[in-house]
């Protein structure tokens, strides 16, 4: 069953949750839902990849299930695991019975620990499955994802095959630290999420920091874009724009001036050399 009736509805409902989607993003979300394909989102840090999945979940009232990937994550963490401790307890408790009986029992639902992938497949309701920072996981896990995302079913040898009642809306994110396999990419619709244009970024600010005055918001966005054009190692992202705007509010600034910018630069830029370059180009003191 489709979550959204049109691209415009995607934009509108996401906006209600506070997420401002470009036409490009709204179209990709709409298509992922309609074609029933996972959406792979790549892009620099802090441009709203994770946030988009959360917003889709909020907008469609579908539970968000999150698989956070990291180096060394394995099937037991991603798919399911047997609760061995509980199984042992059960076996020792039932001393009298035959092994056949015991086995039928300890490999039942009660002793299964579902992890995010299995939870999403088994869910009674529509879910949004967020597979976050997929590029951190090892290649074997990618194989596992490929299997699960191909037919949305999981085989637990002791229990049989479990098929999804509702195909989850799947979002995979990646920062591109490792190239994902071609096979996995081919399973997905692809969205490259980049820094928003000026107009959209001003709207994001209005939504995230409503107390910020319009004229200051415009100056903030202009400044951020100038910084992004300086060839820095780590140009400020949307999350820095939002943080900086909040900092400016807290400092009680009504306009940008030399000392306010110099004082709050640390919120925007993380590398020492980046800060030096910005100081020089903006002719800040010190």
């Amino acid at each position: 069953m489709a979550l959204f009736a049109s691209v415009d509805e995607v934009s509108a409902r996401l906006a209600e949750t506070g997420y401002l989607a470009s036409g490009e993003v709204a179209t990709a979300v709409f298509l992922a839902d309609r074609l029933g394909k996972p959406l792979l989102i790549e892009g620099p840090a802090g441009v709203g990849k994770t946030e988009l999945a959360k917003a889709v979940s909020a907008a469609s009232a579908a539970e968000l299930i999150r698989l956070q990937c990291y180096e060394g994550i394995d099937e037991a963490r991603a798919l399911y695991e047997w609760n061995h401790a509980k199984q042992l307890l059960r076996i020792t408790a039932g001393r009298g019975e035959s092994w056949e009986q015991a086995r039928a029992d300890v490999f039942g639902e009660e002793f299964l620990l579902p992890r995010p992938l299995l939870s999403a497949i088994r869910s009674e309701h529509q879910t949004v499955l967020l597979i976050d920072e997929t590029d951190k996981a090892d290649l074997e896990v990618e194989g596992l994802l490929l299997e699960v995302l191909s037919d949305f079913q999981v085989t637990v040898p002791e229990l049989g095959t479990i098929s999804a009642r509702h195909v989850p809306f799947v979002v995979l994110t990646s920062n591109g630290t490792r190239e994902l396999s071609e096979a996995l990419r081919r399973r997905c619709l692809f969205l490259h999420l980049d820094f928003p244009d000026e107009e959209l970024e001003r709207r994001i600010l209005r939504s995230r920091v409503p107390a910020l005055e319009e004229s200051l918001a415009a100056a903030v966005v202009e400044m951020i874009n100038a910084l992004r054009g300086m060839g820095l190692r780590k140009p400020p992202s949307v999350s820095e724009t939002v943080d900086w705007a909040r900092t400016l509010l807290e400092l009680g600034a009504r306009t940008l001036d030399e000392s306010v910018v110099a004082d709050s630069m640390g919120v925007l830029l993380k590398h020492r050399t980046d800060i030096e370059i910005a100081h020089e180009k903006l002719q800040l003191p010190g």
């Binding site: 990709a28 074609l35 630290t177 619709l189």
Partner: protein
């Protein structure tokens, strides 16, 4: 032409530009058009990109081909301006407003007024921009944009950014007009700018170079993972035959317990020797930064640079954060203290390297030479290169020139190539592939 046929041709054209969408992607793209309809062109563009692209760097090429195959179909605009002066006034206003629609409009008018190169539908973005000279409007636009206060300092940047955006729109519009009048199949082959990764390293402009620099970090990490994988692989499998046989003596000659080779105790050492003269400096810098980004894969990386004499510049790269945009300048000012910048002298460079830093090379070092082997008709000093090759564990030469040009003019590529492998390395894609393959583990 039916939508289906056009889609298939579109996918084929993408393929010719290195975007390999297969049958399943094409089917997805068809479903995309079905679901979205054809009414909204920008949605179609976004939808087809989602179905057909697999990575971010492909988007610029995709957009250009899309514009050719799904053109706006609007013909020539009404052009209101009568003189160049009037047109530039209108353009300045559009630039000051910064609104996308106004910039597009200005680009369309500009190409119509100044871009026609012949009467049968030829249009040139270059000619248009030469006539308009939008960069000379920066000061005027900056003044109009400046809102007073601190943001004033950014006005010039903003104006410059908008001018760059305008130029891009002029290029798009010129392509569109040509396609309209001449048919897209004929023009997509030469009118589409290749993606940065497949662009010629020797012909990059500042803008694209900056775009490339941002890819160094991720690229370095990717290559590092690849090397690490090769290393674990190399360490596991290898059976030490001699030790296995010796062991088998205690089991009557039957090799019951295979002995494995001990992993190499130390990570390899890398020496980079780079030509920093004008023509190849970009290539060398890019490669240096790339190797530097992978430095924890090696026990030691030493970097030497030359124009006519060789100097060690390792410590310039060891700063916590070498700034990619400036490092080339700093290296160059180090190696060419006098203004004798332009000409590289390979013979002298190799000689001074051996004299001053000869001890940098041992049987544990792998050497990468980066340069075009153009000696400016001086001696290539093959003897000293031979001495390096004889001492080092391995030597590879990465040459940014196409192999077809080796040994033409003052190139001594062949003479060096005879002593150790030389690889053509004219694009980032080729460079990445090579670095991943030839670096030792």
């Amino acid at each position: 032409m039916s939508t289906g046929t056009r889609l298939v041709e579109f996918v084929r054209a993408l393929r010719e530009h290195g975007i390999t969408a297969g049958p399943s992607e094409t089917i997805d793209a068809g479903r995309v058009l079905e679901v979205l309809g054809l009414a909204d062109r920008e949605r179609m563009r976004a939808g087809l990109a989602a179905a057909l692209l697999r990575r971010g760097g492909q988007r610029a090429v995709f957009d250009q081909v899309f514009d050719l195959y799904f053109p706006l179909g609007i013909g020539a605009p009404d052009a209101h301006a009568e003189t160049l002066g009037q047109y530039r006034e209108q353009l300045a206003e559009a630039l000051a407003s910064g609104a996308a629609s106004e910039l597009t409009e200005a680009a369309r008018t500009g190409v119509e007024l100044f871009g026609a190169v012949d009467s049968d539908g030829g249009f040139s973005a270059h000619q248009t921009l030469e006539a308009i000279q939008p960069q000379t409007l920066v000061a005027q636009v900056a003044e109009a944009v400046a809102s007073g206060g601190f943001a004033e300092r950014l006005a010039r940047d903003t104006a410059r950014r908008r001018v760059a955006e305008f130029r891009e729109r002029v290029r798009t519009e010129a392509r569109r007009r040509i396609a309209e009048s001449r048919g897209r199949e004929r023009i997509h082959r030469h009118a589409v700018t290749p993606s940065a990764e497949s662009a010629e390293l020797l012909a990059l402009n500042a803008e694209r170079l900056a775009a490339l620099r941002r890819t160094i970090g991720p690229l370095g990490r990717k290559l590092a993972t690849r090397l690490a994988a090769r290393r674990t692989h190399a360490r596991r499998g290898e059976i030490d035959l001699r030790r296995t046989l010796r062991r088998s003596l205690s089991t009557g000659g039957v090799p019951m317990r295979p002995a494995y080779r001990k992993p190499r105790p130390n990570r390899p050492e890398i020496v980079l020797l780079c030509d920093m003269s004008g023509s190849v400096a970009n290539f060398a810098t890019f490669t240096l930064l790339l190797v530097q980004a992978m430095r924890d894969q090696f026990s030691r990386v030493r970097i030497f640079a030359f124009v006519d004499k060789t100097w060690e510049v390792t410590e310039l790269f060891e700063a916590t954060d070498p700034d990619p945009a400036r490092i080339a300048e700093r290296v160059r000012s180090r190696v060419a203290p006098v203004a004798s910048l332009a000409h590289s002298d390979y013979g002298r460079a190799l000689g001074t390297f051996l004299d001053w830093y000869g001890d940098a090379i041992s049987a544990k070092t792998s050497v990468l030479v980066l340069g075009d082997a153009r000696t400016n008709y001086g001696s290539p000093n093959v003897a000293d290169y031979g001495a390096i090759v004889a001492t080092a564990r391995a030597v590879h030469w990465l040459n940014p020139e196409a192999e077809s040009r080796w040994d033409t003019g003052d190139s001594a590529a062949g003479a060096y190539h005879a002593l150790a492998p030389m690889h053509e390395c004219s694009t980032i894609a080729a460079l990445t592939e090579l670095v991943g393959r030839i670096l030792p583990v």
